[in-house]
């Protein structure tokens, strides 16, 4: 975990709170959607909650023609629209906004980086940020390499004073080869420990709690293995369609968009061995071992282990919705996958033979993400008065969103003279159990980056290992005819073929 500013003795013993060094966050793509919807509301919340240092500043770097005042006004509007605060208290916002600056600039023009350097030096002088910088690339991946090179050429990537960190957003490449090329081009300028690949799933409270749940409780780890676990199902379901991301999604699809990053990271956290410590390197090393222990699905096995789908028209949450091919910006003959389900195995002593089922899709009946650990059935059915099908196995469900929490299903006797049993669920929900809202994933991750804690960020090796699993599937899809698409109606749990992945007549959870 991060080390606080040790030269400040007043920090000692202030419990629960971590505050980074004063720093400047330079946001490339400062007028874009991500900045408005996620970054600025998260930064403002952190500021209000006293989790950012007094001198914290933002420099927006974007092509849109604006000055500081206009940028501040635009960001205020964004925080009011997308934040959870409603109308902003004038004084508090004004105070935060004093640290917002804007540079109307082109990411390919060297002279604009010289201007950026001057602004940063001035902020250092006026606001005590001491050369500490976070560069947030909220731009398409195709721009990453160019910006990084320009930062290097302008002398902004490294420096004698303060620290420099780089945050990049997924997708980290579009296959193994491109991921390697991207990593190589960035690593020519920034060291791996300076690079923070953000995956907002990992900032969610339940994902972090997964480590605590597994490694701070003595009772779960002994049964967290092939002897007791029958299968693991990881689901990331969305009710929305492609929205305004058709251009991106047509190139990406569900496998690249969700499985390569979010689901593979969640899988790794679920299956990893206990790390030697909770240090970033130790945790990331164990996650990497899991990904490397998954044999790629190649050739004909793709047909039996992977199901892809695309939604047709249907009804979601009481509303009639069009099929994917009728969405604006989508090719009417598109073969893009909006759903994918996979069966994976982890070839190590802990998990050999245990199937891990991953599925994700758009226009599914509910928005939710969860990990369901299904334990093996009791070896002998002693309670003859209860039909065998009513004897459901123990199930541990870790909900990532919404209603973050954990539930355990077990069997209990119904009161009465006869032995009738039924399943009951023991529920733990963050919101009710602790009665407090968790910080948003972006808040947590931005703060972690400023604190220099990379535990919840993806390491280059893990990104490449995940692409190593995904790329053979993409290649197989490219070399064989696509199934008849669309193959599931919006508002259903995906194509029927997905049921065929489950072993022994099992079925997907319908959460």
């Amino acid at each position: 975990m991060a080390v606080l500013t040790m030269e400040n003795p007043l920090r000692e013993g202030i419990r629960l709170e971590r505050t980074p060094d004063p720093c400047v966050m330079v946001i490339f793509g400062a007028s874009g959607d991500l900045t408005k919807r996620k970054l600025m509301p998260a930064l403002y919340n952190l500021w209000r909650e006293r989790l950012l240092p007094a001198g914290f500043s933002v420099v927006g770097f974007s092509r849109t023609d604006m000055n500081d005042a206009q940028y501040r006004a635009a960001m205020k509007e964004a925080v009011e629209q997308f934040g959870d605060q409603g109308p902003l208290n004038g004084e508090a916002w004004d105070n935060f906004a004093e640290g917002l600056f804007y540079l109307s600039a082109h990411p390919g023009h060297p002279e604009d980086y010289a201007s950026l350097a001057s602004i940063l030096e001035e902020i250092d002088r006026q606001r005590g940020t001491n050369g500490n910088r976070v560069y947030y690339l909220a731009v398409p991946p195709s721009s990453f390499a160019g910006i990084v090179q320009q930062l290097d050429a302008a002398g902004l990537a490294q420096g004698e004073k303060g620290w420099r960190r780089l945050i990049i957003e997924k997708p980290f490449g579009h296959d193994l080869q491109s991921a390697r090329e991207l990593n190589q081009s960035i690593s020519k300028v920034f060291h791996e420990e300076q690079i923070y690949r953000i995956d907002h799933y990992l900032g969610k409270e339940t994902v972090q709690n997964l480590l605590v749940f597994r490694f701070a409780n003595g009772i779960f780890e002994p049964i967290w293995n092939r002897r007791y676990v029958d299968n693991v199902q990881i689901t990331a379901a969305e009710t929305v369609g492609v929205e305004n991301r058709a251009a991106y999604y047509e190139e990406s699809g569900a496998l690249r968009d969700m499985v390569q990053n979010h689901l593979s990271q969640v899988l790794a956290l679920t299956a990893m061995e206990p790390p030697a410590s909770m240090g970033a390197e130790e945790v990331r090393a164990e996650k990497l071992k899991v990904l490397r222990a998954i044999p790629p699905i190649t050739g004909d096995r793709v047909g039996s282990c992977v199901v892809r789908g695309q939604y047709g028209p249907g009804w979601v949450d009481g509303k009639e919705v069009p099929g994917y091919r009728s969405e604006p910006g989508v090719d009417p003959n598109s073969k893009t996958d909006t759903y994918v389900a996979l069966k994976l195995f982890i070839e190590n002593w802990r998990w050999a033979g245990v199937p891990f089922y991953l599925r994700t899709g758009k226009r599914l009946p509910k928005r939710l993400s969860e990990i369901a650990i299904q334990f093996r059935q009791a070896p002998l059915l002693l309670f003859n008065q209860t039909p065998a099908e009513q004897m459901s196995p123990n199930l541990l469900v870790i909900r990532i969103q919404p209603d973050e929490g954990i539930s355990l299903k077990f069997t209990a006797k119904q009161p009465g003279p006869s032995v009738h049993v039924r399943s009951v669920t023991m529920d733990f929900r963050y919101a009710t159990s602790f009665g407090m809202a968790s910080a948003s994933a972006y808040e947590r991750l931005l703060l972690d980056c400023m604190l220099g804690d990379p535990t919840l960020f993806a390491h280059r090796d893990a990104v490449e290992a995940a692409w190593g699993i995904i790329t053979p599937i993409l290649e197989a899809w490219a070399n064989r005819p696509a199934p008849s698409l669309p193959n599931y109606a919006a508002g259903t749990w995906g194509p029927a073929e997905a049921d065929g992945l489950l072993q022994g007549g099992g079925c997907w959870r319908k959460p």
Binding site: P9, I14, A92, A431
Partner: protein, 376 residues
């Protein structure tokens, strides 16, 4: 919620609680009632009115920390019973709407002659394998016989030194508490200072700012006492002691306060030393709205002086900071105050099991400063 008055006997109380649970389960059409409890909370209230206030505060606390709460108070003077006992149990509906988490409340109103008996009942009612917290809501009776008996049952005692009437006389009792082995102490007056300490610390983040700490020579803590009486509140004393402790200043001796803005206001000052450095800590009554600490001024040696200020906003909902540094524009910041309600403060303390070593060290320094305070 189900409740009933029961004979004074721990076994009967348990029996009654089981009855209440059964009653709740029968009312529920949504399946079994699940019981979730994370701790035992013993609450001592100073009188019946305080029991009502505490019970109202307990509802949200218990929803954060499912527990068995045992509320103990003095019996009404006209009561014929040595101990009057009531129990209640209630359920919380989870988000799903079909499951419940339980909470239990046992109220014991005892005459002074029944202190040993009520303590033994509390001991019998404590749920096993769960930590025991004692929330002592009557600062004046800290150290009393009943306090001694009940604190022996607890791993952590929650007190509020802001309720002490005479810091000079009462402070040693708080200090004595933290010296008891095996007992951790939470002081709500200290908890209220968390936002203040955090903001003051942030003013000195970064090597450039931290260097001003070496030149710090004066700290003024401005306060507004509860009820307007001109006396120094515990949190002001703790904040002064905290800064001294963090910067390594010791060897205090009283000095005359420099500025006393109002003729009748309370003010007290000490000079502390560290090698060749001197730090004056002054606590003085101010005119800002609110109670407790309302502003902190830190000044550093040099010309012109560097000044750092943290103050409560006029509406009391926020804290404003200001840094005036030579050659730089004044930097201002406004943040909201952390939730300082008793509910929130106690809830936070219930999350902590270990000792707060920093508080204990600050308390020791505060004890050294306290004799200079004027009696109320």
């Amino acid at each position: 919620m189900s409740s009933s008055s029961v004979p004074t006997d721990a076994g009967r109380v348990e029996q009654e609680l089981r009855q209440l649970w059964r009653h709740e389960a029968e009312k529920s059409s949504a399946g079994p009632v699940l019981c979730s409890r994370t701790l035992n909370l013993i609450v001592y209230c100073r009188n019946f009115a305080d029991v009502q206030r505490a019970t109202a505060l307990l509802d949200p606390i218990i929803s954060h920390h499912p527990c068995r709460a045992i509320v103990i108070s003095p019996a009404a003077p006209q009561s014929e019973e040595e101990i009057h006992t009531e129990v209640s149990a209630s359920c919380l509906t989870s988000h799903g709407g079909n499951r419940y988490i339980g909470r239990e409340l046992v109220s014991l109103a005892a005459k002074p002659s029944a202190h040993r008996r009520v303590a033994s009942m509390a001991r019998a009612l404590i749920l096993p394998d769960l930590p025991v917290f004692l929330w002592w809501r009557d600062a004046k009776s800290l150290g009393s016989e009943l306090f001694q008996l009940l604190s022996e049952l607890a791993e952590r005692v929650i007190v509020d030194s802001a309720g002490l009437e005479d810091l000079q006389a009462d402070w040693p009792r708080v200090h004595a508490l933290v010296q008891r082995p095996g007992l951790a102490v939470s002081d709500l007056a200290w908890s209220r200072l968390t936002s203040w300490r955090q903001l003051i610390a942030q003013l000195f983040d970064g090597p450039a700012r931290a260097s001003y700490l070496h030149r710090l020579h004066r700290m003024v803590v401005e306060f507004s006492p509860e009820g307007g009486e001109p006396k120094v509140p515990a949190d002001a004393l703790l904040l002064g002691a905290w800064l001294a402790r963090q910067l390594g200043f010791t060897n205090s001796h009283p000095v005359l306060p420099q500025d006393n803005p109002t003729q009748h206001a309370a003010a007290v000052a000490w000079e502390l030393s560290k090698e060749s450095s001197r730090l004056v800590v002054e606590l003085r009554q101010g005119k800002r709205p609110g109670t407790g600490v309302t502003a902190v001024f830190l000044s550093c040696q040099g010309t012109p002086q560097a000044v750092f200020v943290v103050s409560r906003t006029q509406d009391g909902k926020g804290l404003a900071t200001r840094a005036e540094l030579p050659g730089q524009a004044t930097m201002r910041r406004l943040v909201r105050t952390g939730d300082e309600s008793a509910t929130c403060l106690v809830s936070r303390e219930l999350e902590i099991l270990g000792r707060d070593v920093l508080y204990e060290q600050v308390l020791r320094i505060a004890s050294e400063l306290a004799p200079a305070l004027s009696p109320a």
